[in-house]
């Protein structure tokens, strides 16, 4: 920003003259400025807030902040309206005695009452059976704390929203390259020349993506957007590829087909940084098939081209064969991993012609994109002259970059084939040598991590004790699953069971259904934090709302006690037995920790805090403070001193003094007794003050020789170990071939020495979908939906100016869009007799909705789509009952089942990726037809209006927000008399 401003020059004297003539518009003496971190979405930009008369005058991007560098999006700019939202919760409440759950009838209670009630209940659960507490958090930015809390409580049933958001994206990266997109990695915006955006409508990442597109365009680089819909970012793309939803793996692998056929790939990169040269046992349908051939020490083997014998694949200085079939001394048939890949991807299945039939992308276009990628990667490669040393000790005098970069998010991952699709995109990057190379896709510290991160999911629930490990982790073999001796799931959401073995983020979207069904068991208390599980964050919304109220024969609720913690009156709050009111983001301390979802930049380790800008004007408390309080009351070991006293006074004290391992805490900046250490060091009692002094963020810039090829960069690997990011400085080898997946596949085939699934369904899913190298397969719902009855793909996208359900309460943002439409291709609509702005029925296997349609050109012709979470329940979110959000706004969720329609084996199976449990929102298939003449207004389904919460203020028809009486600028009478209108 500063750089840009320097270029602006005014005729200086004229400008100063004018300034002198101006009144003093702003009384800066009565204003103060404070920094904090935005929370209008998950981007976590730095903001500078100007206060005047104890109100917010202005929120602007912090120019020095590493994430947003001064810019701010529409949401961030609308923070004022969030802060004054009528939907803010005002005090703790409990369900009114005698009222039914879900009616939003509450009575206010004191904090003491609320905390005593909760402590008593939780104490009993913890002492008897900790897993009876299910604690699920939504879009929280403090999973390091909520996860620690759950682990200390001893429940296995904790997860955040990743399972219904984008776990496929995260997991595919962490099981392949050691990092992924968004929080894990970014395109090298400073250098990239060719950028492919896969399945990102308008959201993650918000400002960094926009800033990056600007840089790419200033450089004259090419922007290719792969998305069924042309809005948002796709609008400014040089090439729009309107792909059929759920077929991205086929497109990526067909691009790979073209590259391989023409021998256009980075041979050195594959040999040096990946496991492509490892030898794989080739003994089909026998035990051990598809696993790496290992020596007696368990080290994988490669074929050395010079020595012409097997060598340790991980030894430096070997000269391994990338291709070929070999025989081990014991006679075992072997093939290199790369040979297996080439055999598959060069087959006719992945020709552009065949891919075209599946993706709807012309074959010539696929060939062209592949050859453009190759041209930029190999003919326009870039060099950065810096001495660096690779893990073998070899010195290099430069980093060689392949300036092709990619970014992918929910459009790829929210399909039941999304894990393999994301992996396919990584494969494409790896073949081009553009992983963590200049101009390519760069990791963001603490990533890359070893494949996969060495944390196993906890499974041993013991009354009164913490769980032995973090509730979430990274299974690498069937032994790591959270299942009992019979193979039944241990978790309420069935994560890490045969149904979803690598469910790294849990399956929050299954928690209610399973708890109500008592499958695998009944629970006692469910806590939802910031998750709108009675509305847009759930599949099958109508049924889920019934589920939340479902009772046993004895009249008790099947989920006996439901605690909802939120800052706002969401649809889910209405179902709470106990409401814990949170603060807004401008009213609290927070940490955005490296232990959590980091905000690092590719070349800087970063974290940040929130510090209160305003005192709450309601009887509310930050949830993190409540968690620390509860942890003290419940005497969690990590929160209790040896003498049985509470270890931490409050949240701030906890953040300063808690150490995960000695020297490593939630905040990495200004550690050490006097703040002299970065990344690692003793607790610093003044740490919060240092952050506040430094605009609420910490940035540790990497040395030049640490910046690229970090998985194989000796100095970086040592730095990462020293800093506590990784437990070892061994090279991070890119796992093109996933032996980990193969082990699950073998278990499904009955060929694994270890746990194996008993149900035929699980056997099929494992043997079919756990492919050690990615493949395209038809999404699960599509496989069992009669395509003539439901010919359209239906997807939900996120607009740039709203974050999920949060922003309909925002008086400014809802003016941009107060209700959503179902969008469809114009020619297709006309063909079906569907008129623009008419009302239509949309039907799926699960239900039907009546919505208003809008025809457009920029929409793949077999796809219909809408914006997420603009539709609202009547009376919720501080809105009036006639608000457009509830009269015309709608959710697609009613059409999406949490189970697959083809569950033919007795027990229903989740509508999720069979590998990771990622909610397969975008697998939906529907039919669409005009509503009758007398149905031409009003959305269906409709829900009862919610009762107004106690203490909610009346909203007025007129809003005139300001912080002071305006200083007007007048036109002088002389000016009028001499000039009249515009006559010089």
């Amino acid at each position: 920003m500063a750089e840009k401003q320097d270029k602006i020059s005014f005729k200086k004297n004229a400008f100063i003259d004018n300034a002198n003539k101006m009144p003093e518009f702003e009384n800066h003496q009565q204003q103060t400025q404070k920094n904090t971190t935005c929370y209008m979405c998950a981007c976590r930009c730095g903001i500078k807030v100007t206060l005047e008369n104890n109100k917010i005058r202005y929120i602007q991007g912090e120019p020095t902040h590493p994430v947003n560098k001064g810019v701010l999006c529409a949401k961030g700019n609308a923070g004022i309206m969030k802060q004054i939202s009528p939907a803010r919760l005002r005090q703790p409440m409990m369900r009114k005695p005698g009222s039914e759950r879900g009616t939003s009838e509450f009575v206010p209670i004191s904090w003491d009452e609320a905390l005593d009630m909760l402590t008593e209940r939780l104490q009993k659960i913890r002492e008897t059976d900790p897993k009876k507490l299910a604690f699920f958090t939504g879009r929280d930015q403090m999973q390091a704390l909520t996860g620690l809390w759950a682990q200390q409580f001893g429940t296995i049933n904790w997860a955040a929203h990743g399972g219904f958001c984008s776990v496929n994206m995260a997991a595919a990266g962490l099981y392949t390259t050691g990092f992924s997109f968004w929080e894990f990695g970014d395109p090298d915006w400073e250098r990239t020349k060719y950028f492919m955006l896969w399945g990102v409508a308008e959201d993650h990442a918000s400002n960094p993506m926009k800033m990056g597109i600007n840089k790419l365009k200033e450089r004259g680089g090419k922007f290719v957007a792969i998305n069924p819909v042309r809005t948002g970012y796709q609008a400014v793309a040089d090439e729009w590829v309107p792909i059929k939803p759920g077929t991205d793996a086929m497109l990526a692998l067909s691009l790979i087909h073209v590259l391989l056929k023409n021998e256009l790939f980075d041979w050195e990169f594959l040999v040096r940084y990946t496991n492509a040269h490892y030898l794989v046992v080739n003994t089909p349908r026998t035990k051990g098939d598809g696993l790496f051939y290992r020596n007696s020490n368990g080290t994988p083997q490669s074929w050395d081209l010079e020595k012409e014998c097997l060598v340790n694949a991980t030894d430096p200085k070997i000269k391994p064969a990338l291709l070929g079939e070999y025989k081990a001394p014991d006679g075992t048939q072997l093939k290199t991993a790369f040979t297996i890949m080439t055999e598959r991807y060069m087959s006719d299945e992945y020709t552009p012609e065949n891919a075209s039939k599946i993706c709807g992308v012309p074959a010539d276009q696929i060939k062209k994109i592949a050859l453009e990628l190759a041209h930029v990667a190999f003919k326009e490669s870039i060099e950065i002259e810096t001495e660096w040393t690779d893990w073998t000790g070899r010195k290099h005098d430069k980093f060689i970059g392949r300036p092709v970069s990619m970014h992918a998010m929910r459009g790829i991952s929210a399909h039941s084939n999304g894990f393999q699709a994301c992996r396919a995109i990584h494969f494409l990057q790896v073949l081009l040598g553009s992983v963590d190379s200049p101009g390519g896709h760069l990791a963001k510290p603490p990533y890359p991590r070893h494949v996969a991160p060495p944390i196993k999911p906890g499974k041993n629930v013991v009354p009164g004790k913490p769980l032995e490990s973090w509730p979430l982790g990274f299974p690498t073999e069937p032994e790591d699953l959270a299942i009992d001796d019979e193979g039944n799931p241990l978790r309420i959401d069935k994560a890490y069971s045969w149904e979803a073995p690598i469910a790294n983020h849990g399956l929050m979207h299954m928690a209610i259904t399973n708890a109500v069904a008592g499958d695998p068991y009944e629970i006692d208390t469910m806590i939802f934090f910031m998750a709108n599980m009675a509305w847009n964050s759930t599949m099958n919304t109508t049924k889920m709302r019934e589920n939340l109220c479902a009772k046993n024969e004895d009249g008790e609720y099947k989920i006996p006690f439901l605690v909802v913690c939120d800052a706002f009156d969401s649809e889910t709050v209405g179902y709470a037995d106990l409401v814990i009111p949170d603060t807004t983001y401008l009213e609290r301390y927070d940490t955005i920790s490296i232990l959590d979802r980091p905000i690092s930049e590719p070349h800087a380790v970063c974290d940040s805090i929130r510090a209160p800008i305003l005192e709450p004007d309601r009887d509310v408390r930050p949830w993190q403070s409540v968690l620390v309080e509860l942890a003290g009351r419940l005497k969690f070991p990590e929160f209790t001193s040896d003498n049985g006293e509470r270890k931490f006074k409050d949240y701030k004290d906890f953040i300063i003094n808690y150490e995960k391992v000695p020297g490593v805490g939630f905040l990495a900046g200004w550690r050490g007794e006097n703040g002299e250490n970065s990344l690692k060091g003793k607790p610093n009692p003044k740490q919060w003050d240092k952050y506040i002094e430094n605009k609420c963020f910490f940035e540790y810039k990497l040395a030049d020789n640490h910046k690229y090829f970090r998985g194989a960069n000796k100095d970086y690997l040592e730095f990462a170990k020293k800093s506590g990011f990784n437990s070892s400085s061994d090279p991070i080898i890119i796992e093109l071939y996933s032996e980990k997946l193969q082990k699950f596949k073998l278990a499904g085939m009955g060929l694994y020495d270890g746990p194996q699934p008993k149900k035929e369904r699980d056997q099929f899913r494992l043997s079919r979908f756990f492919d050690p190298i990615p493949e395209y397969y038809i999404p699960l719902e599509h496989r069992c939906t009669f395509s003539q009855a439901f010919p359209f793909y239906a997807i939900t996208q996120r607009p740039m100016f709203m974050y999920h359900s949060w922003d309909s309460q925002n008086a400014w943002l809802r003016q941009l869009q107060a209700h959503n439409y179902m969008h469809m291709n114009k020619a297709k609509g006309e063909e079906l007799g569907i008129k623009d702005l008419s009302w239509v029925w949309v039907e799926s296997n699960t239900g039907k909705i009546k919505v208003q349609v809008k025809l457009m050109e920029g929409c793949q012709s077999d796809t219909i789509w809408t914006w997420n979470a603009i539709g609202k329940q009547k009376g919720k979110w501080g809105l009036s009952e006639d608000a457009n959000e509830s009269t015309k706004g709608f959710l697609m969720n009613h059409l999406i089942n949490e189970h697959l329609p083809c569950a033919d084996t007795g027990s229903p199976v989740t509508n999720s990726d069979p590998i990771t449990g990622q909610a397969a929102w975008y697998d939906l298939k529907v039919n669409i037809y005009p509503a009758a003449d007398d149905e031409q207004f009003g959305v269906y389904p409709n829900f009862e209006a919610s009762t107004k919460l106690p203490g909610r203020p009346e909203t007025k028809d007129i809003l005139r927000y300001n912080t002071k009486k305006p200083v007007r600028l007048s036109r002088s009478l002389i000016d009028i008399l001499t000039k009249g209108g515009f006559e010089k």
């Binding site: 005014f10 602007q60 810019v71 926009k210 040089d238 927000y961 209108g981």
Partner: protein, 231 residues
Amino acid sequence: MRLGLVVDLDKCVGCSACAIACKQWNTSGTSGSLTDYRPYGADPSGVFFNRIRHYETGNYPDSKTVHFPMSCMHCEEAACVTVCPTGASYKREEDGIVLVDPEKCMGCNYCAWACPYGARELDREEGVMKKCTLCVDRIYDENLPKEERKPACVMTCPTTARYFGDFDDPNSEVSIVSRKRDGQELFPELGYKPVNQYLSPRKKVEIKQHEISEPNLVRKVKDWVNKVVEL
């Protein structure tokens, strides 16, 4: 001086950051408040100085989506000023900013009818016409850091699709980008000489394709010869 904006339609992703930044700055600024009607009710609306319009050109699959931010163009021959019966609307001689003096405005709407760009916004609560001031209460404020003395919409734009400056100065950023990218006025045929300029979406970037030679096409994996690369 001839102050104005350049808007780059090649970079605008339609995120509305500029529109909301404008709203938040100006509601507590010299034109404030910018009233909102039915903020939490049916058909919410309110005073906005900057609105983004969205268009499509061409037919699927060759269609193109264009996001088009529009605010006051600060015309040199401003029709809104000409028609104002009270002298409330004026164009400042010093810098060309078109403003409304709220003390003199009677809210008659003539200017709104005259403006072909839809840039005028009647605040019904005050009975006063309001409009983009180019953040006149920011750009001359010497108590703000120098790099912040520009309109809120320009400061906030995440894609740097907005530029502010003096078109009379040939070396200003607005003059330079406008020259370089052949900046266009909106509706020049109407003759109001709008100062703001728009940069058209650029032509598609063409990238060379890697040369390939059909005969060398690898048919089978076995055709390949291993390269010796030391780990």
